[in-house]
């Protein structure tokens, strides 16, 4: 991998939220707690590829998306966008960088302003970034965007409530594309959709990537969606990346006990496949003041003494794969 191929790279990215207890717990002298939402993660995304970030609720996927767009400031770590340190950017430079990185959110009902027309929603980002001068130019670009995401151009002067969930998600994608970004981050962009519509939107993501050479960071909790859309996959568990690698290899031969457990728990739409089961004990551990050592401690079938003491680092295991486990 040469540096020129890498669009985004993240090193030791960390976000700790301080939980201030209520006044009673303060009076009782309880210590403030640390919620380690993202706890030192490394990953990179090459130009034109799709990195799938998968994990269960509360594992830090969305926080990661907000950190790499600098919507929130990290506690520690580095975010490098096109070989430049994103965290050192001035406000003006950050605005320019935002043009390169755009987000598509999960819920298209709350991510579109109900009081603005589609024309306004799709042309406002162009105005902000000075990409279109005249009204006619903006109008033309918006029409082009609508065509691109498979919406009729007659929709241009309508309001979001006149659209179905799938159509709204197309509008949200069009808005992300309105400033010609290089990287599009999808934060669960298909989870709120019914399966027949979800397939349409997944295909749209694919087509746009082919046509425009986009790079995706695709966040989802649905493993089959991740398998479908990703070139490479990173699996998160309670603030840590536990395994990364090419999608095909990772799904066919998962190495980390957590990845294995996730895959075994998926009910596949085929009665001939083995039934879903849980190979871990108990429930997801808490990110609040986690004990040292591996986050999977207490749940893992392959646990040994070292696991509770030392946090396993993410190490290369060949074939472009990395795993964080002491007992491979």
């Amino acid at each position: 991998m040469t540096a020129a191929d890498t669009l985004l790279s993240v090193k030791g990215l960390t976000k700790h939220f301080t939980l201030h207890g209520d006044i009673y717990s303060k009076l009782a002298g309880e210590k403030t707690q640390l919620l380690k939402a993202v706890d030192g993660i490394d990953f990179h995304i090459r130009r034109g590829e799709t990195l799938g970030l998968v994990g269960e609720s509360g594992c830090g996927k969305s926080t990661t998306a907000r950190l790499v767009t600098r919507l929130i400031e990290p506690t520690a770590g580095q975010v490098t966008l096109k070989n430049q340190n994103l965290l050192a950017f001035s406000r003006k430079r950050l605005k320019e960088a935002r043009k390169e990185v755009q987000l598509v959110f999960q819920d298209p009902y709350s991510s579109l302003n109900p009081r603005k027309t589609i024309m306004h929603i799709l042309s406002r980002p162009m105005e902000i970034h000075g990409l279109a001068r005249s009204w006619a130019e903006k109008r033309e670009k918006v029409l082009e965007l609508l065509r691109r995401v498979g919406l009729g151009i007659e929709h241009i002067d309508r309001y979001p409530h006149e659209f179905s969930g799938g159509q709204r998600q197309r509008i949200a994608i069009a808005r992300a594309l309105s400033v010609d970004p290089e990287l599009v981050i999808g934060d669960e962009p298909v989870s709120a959709l019914d399966v027949s519509i979800q397939a349409q939107i997944l295909n749209l993501f694919r087509e746009l990537q082919q046509e425009l050479g986009l790079t995706y960071l695709f966040i989802a909790h649905d493993l089959s969606v991740i398998r479908h859309i990703s070139d490479r996959v990173a699996v998160m568990y309670v603030g840590k990346i536990v395994e990364t690698g090419p999608a095909a290899a990772l799904f066919e031969r998962p190495l980390h006990p957590y990845t294995k457990a996730l895959l075994a728990a998926v009910p596949e739409a085929d009665p001939a496949k083995p039934p879903p089961r849980l190979t871990l004990q108990g429930e997801v551990s808490t990110p609040i003041d986690p004990p040292p050592g591996c986050r999977l401690c207490g749940r893992c079938p392959r646990e040994s003494n070292v696991c509770a003491e030392i946090t396993p680092p993410l190490v290369d295991v060949g074939d472009g794969r990395q795993v964080a486990c002491h007992n491979l």
Binding site: E56, S196, A199, H228, P276, E283
Partner: protein, 330 residues
């Protein structure tokens, strides 16, 4: 068609549910018929707004009237029509004979009562247990659904439980009065995949152990594939296909079922593009004439635009509502 052989627990016959809204009438469930055998798990699958949950609520007689109305049809539970029963009779039926588990435990459980209070409420009203007896039974129930140290969790409030544990509490409540029939309305949809796996295992194991029958409502075909025996596929208020699970997955006969199965991304192997169903679900306020699926169907013919297809038997026990099967073409 629903002859009630003693082995049938529940039979819906031409059930139709309509809502009179300010904007007009909406038929949420239209001529739905199916039967559930004793000990069987019947999966009702469909996308949002297809009428799955309204069907479940109709069985529990929970459709508010007005605006709801059941103009046609029968719901035969153990041979007698639920729709003819008085409110008092229904109260005797709910909980004790038919119980329901809902999707969102946080809104289905009461936040201001402890878990013990809520579950023992049903026990004391329905079974006439004393406070102490009920408390003992709650402990039993909580350990039955796999809540660790139930003695300690008994007096906790709902917000003190995690999502998966709340769903266990809901299940304990549903099972409290030993009902023979359970309705589970998307019980695992709000849960993470690993929690979903445990709750599914728990429900299917419980059904088997207690010899119950189950109506399982879900939009997830993967869940259907592993939790159900027989499957009904709903689209825009109609049942479009009905059959044994294996048949439905191996030989789907309705274009909508075929489309659904093709829309799911798979865990093994990676197709570059999925084959989605084109368009989107029709507006239920102004449904299209004829087959509700025809605007999205690749095989639509003239007759599809005029006539609503009836459910017809294609193979033994396998029914589909599609004009493609009229001429014995398939």
């Amino acid at each position: 068609m629903a002859e009630t052989v003693p082995n049938t627990v529940l039979a819906l016959d031409d059930l139709t549910v309509r809502f009179h809204l300010r904007r007009g009438d909406l038929t949420a469930v239209d001529g739905v018929s199916f039967a559930i055998e004793r000990g069987q798990t019947f999966g009702l699958v469909g996308e949002s707004g297809s009428g799955k949950s309204v069907t479940a609520k109709a069985i529990m007689r929970l459709i508010p009237d007005p605006p709801g109305e059941i103009p046609r049809g029968r719901i035969l539970f153990e041979g007698s029509n639920i729709l003819d029963k008085s409110n008092a009779e229904m109260r005797g039926l709910r909980g004790r004979h038919i119980a329901m588990v809902f999707q969102e435990p946080m809104s289905a459980l009461n936040p201001v009562f402890t878990v013990c209070d809520q579950i023992s409420d049903a026990l004391r009203t329905n079974l006439g247990l004393s406070k102490a007896e009920a408390r003992e039974r709650v402990v039993e129930l909580l350990s039955l659904v796999g809540i660790p140290s139930p003695h300690k969790r008994l007096d906790s409030y709902v917000h003190e439980f995690s999502g998966g544990m709340r769903q266990r509490v809901m299940l304990a409540m549903a099972l409290s009065c030993n009902p023979g029939f359970l309705i589970a309305d998307e019980p695992t949809t709000a849960l993470d995949v690993t929690i979903q796996a445990t709750i599914l295992e728990l429900i299917t194991g419980m059904i088997e152990r207690l010899g119950m029958s189950l109506l399982f409502i879900t939009h997830n075909l993967g869940v259907v594939a592993h939790a159900c025996d027989r499957v009904g596929v709903m689209y825009a208020s109609h049942i479009v296909e009905l059959g044994d699970k294996k048949e439905i997955f191996a030989h789907p006969q309705h274009p909508y079922t075929v489309g659904l199965l093709h829309s799911i991304p798979r865990l093994d192997g990676q197709a570059k593009y999925l084959t989605p169903i084109s368009g989107s679900v029709c507006n239920m306020m102004e449904p299209p004439a004829g087959c509700k699926f025809h605007p999205r169907c690749a095989h639509a013919m003239d007759v599809c635009r005029r006539e609503i297809p009836k459910l017809k038997e294609i193979a033994p026990g396998h029914l589909a509502a599609c004009h493609l099967h009229d001429r014995g073409a398939a």
